[in-house]
Amino acid sequence: MLVRVAVAVAALGVAFAAYRLWKRPPGRLSGASLLDLGVAGPAIVQFSTRSCAPCRAARPVLIEAAAAAEVDYAQIELDDRPEVAGRFGIRSVPTIVVTGPGGTVRGVWTSTPTNGEITEAARRAKPT
């Protein structure tokens, strides 16, 4: 019985560890420039798809955070631009980034950060 419980816990652990790996922020985004996607300065950018319910939920939070930090908000629909997902290795949506001057990525999240966390990150990304 104890062995079975251990095996069951291990199986669940492997599944959830794989999920965490899947949700890892894509490394290719860190430090990348989003200038050619129209992001030229400090902004909060959400990569989303039309079928993504968490993306719709995140949108008002991110817009509010962008307004509080006095930066732009942009949303890039991967349905329309699938090549962007391939280029940056985006595996899951929403993928949220904060950019600094020149559209350079300063922070990446693969789930909706708290309003305070993203606002603070956007404020820090602004030129002083």
């Binding site: 079975r4 069951a8 199986a11 079928s51 319910a53 968490p54 719709r56």
Partner: protein, 158 residues
């Protein structure tokens, strides 16, 4: 118009399938393998009319009085995931009773259980994603994601 489903229905089904399989494994009840194979066969091959989870959610909605979903999603991806679950559990049943391969049978059962519980708790349905990826390849990117209809545009029922 494609068939649509209340997203809470597949989540409920995944939670029940995953939990029952896990309990069956821990307590050594191999009977759960063929029983859930039959349930998933009904859910995948017969559609909503033979999906026990659809009836369960409808009954729960009546008894507990929770409202309509915020959006409907396409029924085909979770149905495909159910088909995969059915195939895996049929294989597990055959392995257990046909070949006395208990470890192989429970490996398949645990795989289905872990993926079902993952989908129920995180929303990442691996079977659904495989369906969407296969269709994306099949349509050369013309149908990139699964269809979701927000509540305000709900004309068709689940």
């Amino acid at each position: 118009m494609r068939n649509l489903v209340d997203p809470r229905q597949p989540r409920t089904g995944q939670a029940i399938t995953g939990t029952v399989l896990l309990i069956g494994f821990v307590l050594g009840w191999p009977q759960v393998l063929p029983v859930l194979a039959v349930v998933l066969a009904g859910a995948s091959l017969g559609g909503p009319a033979t999906n026990p989870y659809a009836y369960l959610l409808r009954a729960a909605r009546r008894v507990m009085g929770f409202g309509p979903p915020r959006e409907l999603e396409e029924a085909a991806p979770p149905r495909f995931a159910n088909t995969l679950g059915f195939i895996f559990l049929t294989g597990a049943t055959a392995a257990y009773w046909g070949f006395d391969a208990h470890a192989a049978a429970w490996s398949l059962g645990l795989l289905v259980s872990a993926l079902a519980l993952l989908a129920a708790t995180t929303g990442l349905c691996v079977g659904c994603e495989l369906y969407v990826v296969a269709r994306r390849i099949g349509t050369r990117g013309r149908t990139p994601t699964k269809l979701v209809v927000p509540r305000e545009r709900m004309g068709a029922g689940a």
